[in-house]
Symmetry: C2
Subunit: 167 residues, 2 copies
DNA sequence: CTTGGAATGTCAACAAGGCTGACATAAACT
DNA sequence: AGTTTATGTCAGCCTTGTTGACATTCCAAG
């Protein structure tokens, strides 16, 4: 088989001969873009002595108020011990409240306080601003392609979690 | 101004009214996709007691053999001290060699050994396989859009580093 | 030519946030 | 009631980021 030319299929005029070089460019684009993706919230978080882990927790609690710790775990893909440390500080700082479940008292349901919502909005605004600028730059068809490829890149269980959030 | 509807411009039939909801979906897609993106190499690295940091170093040394530590730093966006720890173990394990610069003896030029190249290939193959599958799934126009949006998402200096690697 | 500052890389110590293990409590199932 | 299962918490370790201190080399000004 010819070197540096793997994969098959042909997509009309736009080639779908995927050379290793093309794939590597995609890999590097992903690497650099992710840095940009997190840069703005990271700056804000650093001033507050929080990290990316706090951001993720806040994001998904905002997204699904009342979600349980266990639920959050499966979305974030970390261990409960790891998440717990983050939640403890957020609760201690009054950004999140944890309510014992009424139906099942083992569960803790998580909510953002007003203060938590304020931080979420600040972080979200910064991240959305960059996203919006990128989308505008690239145009609508590019955005569609962007999402399609990202979704194809996920593992099955992540794709499920992602789809579930869209509902 | 109307709630949840920011940004402007209209892209023909494909809307470019970017609701906060649409942007949030993009953000979440990025989050989940990045996990998939790193999952395969991570599994391989874990068995070898290496981490993502080692992977990144190996990747870019392979990409630009003879690059200097300083050069690598600016690409990776970490401190030299952080990179140094990783390089030390890679050199100690015989995956990388560091040659004192002939012209400027302060510099160290980095190369992969055969063993280093072998690991790079293993990691690369795994990551490319997923990338290739995603590309095939999504189709050529989607791939173009994917790259366009990612590039628009980078900071200016990352975009420069990225472009430089394409050369 | 020498001397002081800039560039480059190394070593040490610390912090954030992953991880596993041990454990408490509540629910569920014989 | 007693065992098993689910959920959450506490303690301690490891990777990988950080800053600070320092050695070496280069270069330019005196």
């Amino acid at each position: 088989m010819p070197e540096g030319r793997t994969g098959q299929g042909y997509g009309g005029e736009s080639l779908l001969f995927l050379t290793d070089e093309q794939l590597r460019q995609g890999i590097e684009a992903m690497f650099f873009a992710y840095r940009g993706f997190t840069a703005d919230p990271d700056r804000i978080l650093a001033e507050l002595a929080y990290g990316r882990a706090h951001h993720r927790a806040i994001h998904f609690i905002n997204r699904s108020p009342g979600t349980t710790v266990n639920n959050l775990l499966s979305i974030l893909g970390v261990t409960k011990q790891s998440l717990n440390r983050v939640l403890r500080t957020l609760i201690g700082d009054g950004l999140v409240i944890s309510k014992v479940g009424e139906l099942d008292k083992r569960e803790r349901h998580l909510f953002l306080t007003e203060q938590g919502q304020a931080l979420e909005a600040t972080l979200s605004d910064a991240q959305r601003a960059r996203m919006r600028a990128a989308y505008k730059d690239a145009g609508p068809e590019a955005v569609q392609g962007f999402k399609t490829v990202l979704e194809a890149m996920m593992d099955a269980d992540m794709r499920r979690a992602y789809a579930k959030l869209r509902d």
